[in-house]
Symmetry: C2
Subunit: 519 residues, 2 copies
Amino acid sequence: MITKLSGTSFIGYSRSTGTRPCGQAVNPATGEALAPVYLSATPEEVEQAMALAAAAFPVYSNLPGKTRAAFLRKIAENIEAVVEDIVIRGPQETALPEARMRGETGRTTGQLRLFAALLEEGSWVDARIERAQPDRQPVPKPDLRSMLRPLGPVAVFCASNFPLAFSVAGGDSASALAAGCPVVVIAHSSHPGCAEIVANAVIAAAKECGMPEGVFSVLYGGGRTVGQSVVKHPVIQAVGFTGSRTAGMALMETAAKRTQPIPVYAEMSSINPIVFLPGALAKGEAALAEAYYGSLTLGAGQFCTNPGLVFLPTGQGDEFLAKLKSLVEVGQPSTMLNAAICKAFADATESLSKIAGVKVLAISAAEKAHGQCAPAVFAVAVEDFLKNEHLQAEMFGPGSLVVRGSVAQIEAAIAKLEGQLTATIHGTVEELSLHTSLVNALQQRAGRLIFNSFPTGVEVCSSMVHGGPFPATSDGRSTSVGTMAIFRFCRAIAWQGFPDTALPLELQEANPLAIRRMG
Amino acid sequence: MITKLSGTSFIGYSRSTGTRPCGQAVNPATGEALAPVYLSATPEEVEQAMALAAAAFPVYSNLPGKTRAAFLRKIAENIEAVVEDIVIRGPQETALPEARMRGETGRTTGQLRLFAALLEEGSWVDARIERAQPDRQPVPKPDLRSMLRPLGPVAVFCASNFPLAFSVAGGDSASALAAGCPVVVIAHSSHPGCAEIVANAVIAAAKECGMPEGVFSVLYGGGRTVGQSVVKHPVIQAVGFTGSRTAGMALMETAAKRTQPIPVYAEMSSINPIVFLPGALAKGEAALAEAYYGSLTLGAGQFCTNPGLVFLPTGQGDEFLAKLKSLVEVGQPSTMLNAAICKAFADATESLSKIAGVKVLAISAAEKAHGQCAPAVFAVAVEDFLKNEHLQAEMFGPGSLVVRGSVAQIEAAIAKLEGQLTATIHGTVEELSLHTSLVNALQQRAGRLIFNSFPTGVEVCSSMVHGGPFPATSDGRSTSVGTMAIFRFCRAIAWQGFPDTALPLELQEANPLAIRRMG
């Protein structure tokens, strides 16, 4: 039996007493509204969450890394303790299957523990030490020591497509908390119940670990209202977001217009191009089509790294296309995360099919139940692709566009692409060295380059880059997955001429934390 | 005899043929216009500089670090070869003395060599290697390797107050070129001749080192016209700027409104607060006042780190103030960098003196020649300081405001300060540990904390942070001085499943560059 949900925001260690309804979760497979009704945090409560976060910052940010690590580990433990609640409520809210909910819970707790290990090791702060040279000519050199410090309280928006791994205690929260930043989460209307289950786990962990109240709050009320007011608030020093280009750009605009502009890390829109070179096709076109189809339809295509654009050399890949067509035609429809995403996918495929030069390669003929979308693949010649930038619009779901042209034309088309999370090339090792300028063009457009594999399935590790030039993300210098995500919420600070005892432990002469340092 | 100046832009390896005058340098000490007349780059030439930079990027960014280092060293050598030209033209254009021009030349060549050494060592790219685990359950782990790569062509604006160290071949250019980014410089109207002398040195170095044309261009025509068109251009991927808050914010707005928004690193406005605690005053108020006065008036107060705000505990520091008053009253006027800066300082001191509660502590009575400003110090009670945010406005020049209040009131005032490049505290070691929340408040507002010293004199080294929250800079996560400045122009890219031979040398299995790597 699922733990009772109350439908109210978490204002630090208190619960909201707001009474204005802001919606209920809806089962996307049935259209049925799920209890409870969620209630908006009041403006006064938002203000209170901000004040608590501001007060928590100097305390939380100065805790030893190992203490913050223990908090992250406790959150992971508490989430694991409610996994049976998650696998009941999650599928009801999102239509994602139980296995996915279990897998995503594992990824979420794994992320938390990865950041905990980073803090325990401690060298991530990039400590740099330059000792004084009082006798230097013409002027003495002062003692200068620097390290990364947290920015301040961070606003995190839950993502519709990752109810756990990019929501309440997901990647953005884990990396911000690891950095030393209090977090204010804005729940997503698609899965408020999952949010509440996880929020309870986090708040319990904060209390159990003696964290300052205000280190964590979770607000209901919607991104456009409560979310915007949080991003405008002077206490907030950075924003983490995963979602649509429209919503992400609205946050970027709000953040840029503040008296003090702040960084926004919005992961928005990516069509993840794949280039198939002849050598890859020669190894077996049907198998390649099957693998591609698997990546395209994984999770009903609802991944940021879904491969929505395929480049095939002219005169090549007929068997690949025939196999892909046959797979799509009998492709099973899937229930989408919510009605808006379902409609957006239907609209996107319909608009695409009306653009000059675009042909339908295949659309699944299977009957669709309530809330479902089915795979669809389109084709266009590279000349027509280059004529219309709308052909680069993301179709969020199991849809893609195949572009055919010469390798030189493909390279030219890649140079015209917007920024991407990933870019993939299939071929032989010899082809890679033959086509260095093509590989270079892909590299300029993307955060992750993939060889002979597919972009879905994002490894959470220290070398992952889940970022890329705009509009893949609002800030292509960063990643939202992997340990480098912690850098988004930090800035370097230098201490000049400070006595040893007044320095952070990381910078003290004796190196009491035994971390790796420069100098 | 100074090398002949032609007054035209550098479009890669060509010179502009534009004929529209955009001004002449003016000797700020005399008002005399200096030959030659400078001519705007034409819109077609700006376009050509962009095309050259775009074409240079894939070549330049893929050169080995040691090759880029040799280029930086050659630039330094070529600048040293024209130092006698610089010390003739520089003082004419800026009224800065010969010794400063020589010192700044040394800082500029030192910066270039510091980045060269960083490239030669090579570990700055933060190479991260995670090897494949094909047998991992439930899914295999792919081989994933990441490192920092350059963003693309960078626009650099010359700064009025550093004709060398933050101009054509200054910190922004050095760090961008080191990162692997072609640079397009927009010359400053205050010292176009210095720009031309240095540009010739850089272009000669580029040719001597066989760099791709377009790795460097220098444009005349002004920040508001040519500069804005460069920042709007899709080829440009980042902007470096040091100057006024108004101009910096105009660039931020332009960059945010682009189809693809890009990062702007604008270093703008900082009043660099200093807190004097009783223990520091007890050691000798007169000596402290002399040291403070020296920092305040260094370079006619025309440094970003000029200490324009002083906090003194109530009832303390009377002797400090008396000594400061006596120094200011007989303080020598200095010729400012240009007429606009001179007028802005006069206006700023006049407006300040009219604000309720502000008293003149002292203004130099010395007679001022053409283009000169003289030291001025004002005083205000902390209660009045907190009432008016205009009291935080930067007075660019030898002016400062002394605020008196209790230590608790000082801490409250610091929490209300805008972001700063530096924050300084003078006191005893015991006072530092007594006032940790005051130190914390300073830390939250600044990029560099200084103990018992003064903020002017910015060390160029690996632990320097010359940055800070807005409006000190537009991007408080970065520094414009020291080796960490290279990170502004980079992003991490991950390679997944790539064969060793197709990887950058930094990521190849055998570690042929012998750099420090993770994994």
